[in-house]
Structure formats: structure tokens, C-alpha cells
């Protein structure tokens, strides 16, 4: 069992070990959906929600699989649970926030293939976190993910109004901005001990 405190885990996942900027999880929406904060932020929140569900389910699943000595089915079970959780969230958003559902488009079901969601489940298992640690890890991860997405989106919105060389526009610019953001977040290293 890992000996990190909950506070350490929270600080680590949001800042120094940010899922997107330090661990490279969730790249697809990070590069694809951050053209506007109005879309990036809700997607971040939806993903954060799925991450927490996935984390709790993964913890319970892992416990059951360990009892039955069926650890080799872990990956398949995790991904099936994630796909189901995304399906549920999709139905919920479609029913209660139809405008948002239309705005997010295909990126909502794509949360299933979001490395961040599966990554949380896999990392918490590898680090042998207990339930409280796993939950904190997931919440921190979700917050960090939303933070990174929103930050990049707000920078991109501003940059769109600036005069950038044509050759750099598009993915190149997004990657450079992401790199600078990642560099900035490296300054948080060691925070939380």
C-alpha cells in the first residue's frame, strides 16, 4: 500500500503530476476541443465526473477480481465499465442539458477512449492506493484535467486574435502553447513534499 497522504495526492494530481500536462493523458480532447472555453470547461467537468465513477468502479472491480484470482481480466473489465459509465453520462446530459449535448457532439462518447479515464483506473491499481486515496486521486485528476483544458482554451481564444505566422497556425501552435503550459506546471514540482 502506498504511503502518500490525501493532501499530497490531491496537490500532486492537480499540479505537479497533472494528468494532461505531465502524464500526457487525455490528449485528444486537449488538442481537439480547446478552441473555446465554453466547450472546454463543460467537457472537462463531464470527463471529471466519468473519471470519479471509473475510479470507484475500478477499485471495487479490482477487489472482486482479486478474490476470484481473475486479475488477467482486469483491463477488459475496466474498459467495459468505463464504456457503460460514459453511456450513462451521455443519456443524462442529453436529457437535462440538450444544448450542451449538441455542442459537445462526438466528444462526449469519445470520453470512452480518453486515456485519462482508463489511466486513472490503471495507475491507482499500480500504485496500490486504498479507497480514500483512489477517490482523492480521481477527484484531483478530474480537477487537474479541467484546469489544463480551460487554461489552454483561454490562451487559444486570446491567441486567435493575435497575428501569428500562417505556417504555425493549427496543431503546431496548439502544441507549442501546450508545451509552454507544461513547462510552467513543472514549477510546481516538489509541492506537497
Amino acid at each position: 500500500m502506498a504511503h502518500e497522504s490525501l493532501g499530497q495526492i490531491l496537490l500532486n494530481t492537480i499540479l505537479s503530476g497533472n494528468f494532461v500536462l505531465a502524464m500526457f493523458l487525455g490528449m485528444c480532447p486537449f488538442l481537439g476541443v480547446t478552441h473555446s472555453v465554453a466547450v472546454a470547461f463543460p467537457l472537462g467537468v463531464a470527463t471529471a465526473f466519468v473519471i470519479v465513477i471509473a475510479s470507484v468502479s475500478a477499485y471495487l472491480l479490482n477487489w472482486v477480481l482479486a478474490l476470484a484470482h481473475l486479475e488477467f481480466l482486469r483491463l477488459i473489465c475496466y474498459i467495459v465499465v468505463i464504456a457503460s459509465a460514459v453511456q450513462l453520462v451521455e443519456m443524462f446530459v442529453k436529457k437535462h442539458y440538450p444544448a450542451l449535448f449538441r455542442a459537445l457532439g462526438i466528444y462526449l462518447p469519445l470520453i470512452t477512449t480518453n486515456c485519462a479515464v482508463l489511466g486513472v483506473a490503471l495507475f491507482q491499481t499500480a500504485r496500490e492506493y486504498n479507497f480514500a486515496q483512489s477517490l482523492t486521486f480521481a477527484i484531483g485528476g478530474g480537477v487537474g484535467f479541467t484546469l489544463a483544458l480551460t487554461l489552454l482554451a483561454s490562451v487559444r481564444e486570446r491567441v486567435q486574435l493575435a497575428d501569428t505566422p500562417e505556417v504555425v497556425q493549427g496543431t503546431v501552435l496548439v502544441l507549442i502553447l501546450a508545451g509552454v503550459l507544461s513547462l510552467a506546471f513543472m514549477g510546481f514540482a516538489g509541492l506537497g513534499g
Binding site: 504511503h3 502518500e4 499530497q8 488477467f72 477488459i76 514540482a189 516538489g190 513534499g193
Partner: protein, 231 residues
């Protein structure tokens, strides 16, 4: 290449039975593939892990020639580690013997979070000095040129040549916690001088060693006689 235009009947939603049948067939095929590949690779994977652990033990106890796996159970018993999964709460350690079969010392792994990810360290312990006599990094992803100096910095590694880890009077914990201090501030045998500029990684090594020793040595030290005979 694809099927020609379907007849109107096919536009009805597929029946639940067909859905279930497909999922079962696919799951069965996939399950079979997984089980077969698991069985096929199990022995090799285990052998690799054993070899890596042995390499690490030989690194921290250089005179060792044979290594035996043991488990220290929560109730204080020491048992040889079998092939299956260790019971919960059991701590794995390695007992090392030299060419003449004499008991050299024990080695065990500790881990703590460093800068990037977990830093896993193997340490060797000799009861004659009640101290740790060496460490070897098993795995780490620390920054090249900065954190990875724990692999090469001679001054840092010297910290672990005689690191005091004697137990307290009632043998329940270490008498003094292994503590990583600022570079140059070491005054006691249980302290570790951090590498200047690589504090986070140095602390991870110290913490990993401390946490593992705190758990293992109270269980192990009273039972060392059991290990003296080479099995």
C-alpha cells in the same frame, strides 16, 4: 466488398438474442486468447522478475552467491516464499548466503514517490552492525542529469554504506527514523545527506528505505537465527 443493400426486414433493430449471442461468442473467443497467452508467458515473466530481484540483491550484498525468497508475515513468522500470491500484509525479503553457505545478510525493497513517479530501491542489511550496507535503485523515472544522480553520486551512495537502523528497546520500530537532511547537514548515522539540487528524489530514496525498514525489521530481527542455516 461489403454486403449488398439489405432487404427491408434487416432494417428492424437486431433482436436481443442476437446481441447477446454475438457478445457471448466474442467474449468466449477473447477469453480464450487471454488465458492462452497468460499461460504461455507466465513462466518467462516470473523468471525475469526473479532474475531482476536477484541482480539487485547481488548488487547490495556483493559477497552473496545464493539468494532465497522469504515472506515476513504480519504475525511475526518467517516463511519461505512459495510460488503463489503472498498473503495480504506479508513482506517479501531476500536472505543471502556467501560461497561457503554462511549467512551474509538480508535484502528488501522499499518505494516512495519521487519527482516523476515511484522510486523503487533495494537495500541490504547486516545484523552485525544493525545497519544498512548498500542500496541499489530497482526502478525510477527521475529527471536525467538531476534526479538520476542517485544512481551514480558516490557521496550519496556512501550514506547507505553504514546507515544505522537499529531497533528501539521493545523492538517495535527503528530507534531513529531514517531522515534525509539538506546536503552537508548530516550529523548522525541514521541521517542521509541529500544530493544538492535533487532533494525530491533523494527524499524519495530515504523515505522508501525508512518505510520498508520500519515495517520489516521489527518482524525480522527477532527471527534472524532462523535464517542463519542455509536451507
Amino acid at each position: 466488398m461489403n454486403a449488398p443493400a439489405k432487404s427491408p426486414a434487416a432494417f428492424q433493430a437486431t433482436s436481443t438474442f442476437t446481441l447477446l449471442r454475438t457478445l457471448s461468442v466474442v467474449s468466449a473467443i477473447c477469453g480464450l486468447i487471454i488465458v492462452v497467452s497468460y499461460m504461455a508467458t507466465l513462466d518467462r515473466a516470473k523468471a525475469n522478475r526473479r532474475l531482476a530481484a536477484q541482480r539487485a540483491v547481488f548488487k547490495v550484498l556483493p559477497d552473496a552467491v545464493t539468494v532465497k525468497d522469504y515472506l515476513a508475515l504480519p504475525n511475526g513468522d518467517i516463511v519461505p516464499a512459495g510460488g503463489g500470491d503472498p498473503p495480504p500484509g506479508a513482506l517479501r525479503f531476500y536472505s543471502a548466503y556467501d560461497a561457503e553457505g554462511r549467512f551474509e545478510g538480508i535484502a528488501a525493497e522499499g518505494a516512495a514517490k519521487g519527482y516523476a513517479d515511484m522510486v523503487r530501491v533495494m537495500f541490504g542489511y547486516r545484523e552485525s552492525c544493525h545497519c544498512i550496507v548498500g542500496i541499489g535503485v530497482v526502478s525510477m523515472r527521475e529527471t536525467p542529469g538531476i534526479g538520476d544522480r542517485i544512481l551514480t553520486d558516490k557521496a550519496f551512495l556512501t550514506n547507505f554504506k553504514a546507515l544505522d537502523v537499529r531497533l528501539n528497546d521493545d523492538l517495535s520500530a527503528l530507534a531513529n527514523e531514517v531522515k534525509v537532511v539538506k546536503h552537508g547537514a548530516k550529523t548522525q548515522a541514521w541521517q542521509v545527506d541529500a544530493i544538492s539540487g535533487a532533494t525530491v528524489t533523494s527524499r524519495a530514496v530515504g523515505k522508501g528505505v525508512n518505510d520498508a525498514a520500519q515495517l520489516l525489521l521489527p518482524r525480522l530481527v527477532p527471527k534472524l537465527d532462523q535464517l542463519r542455516e542455509k536451507p
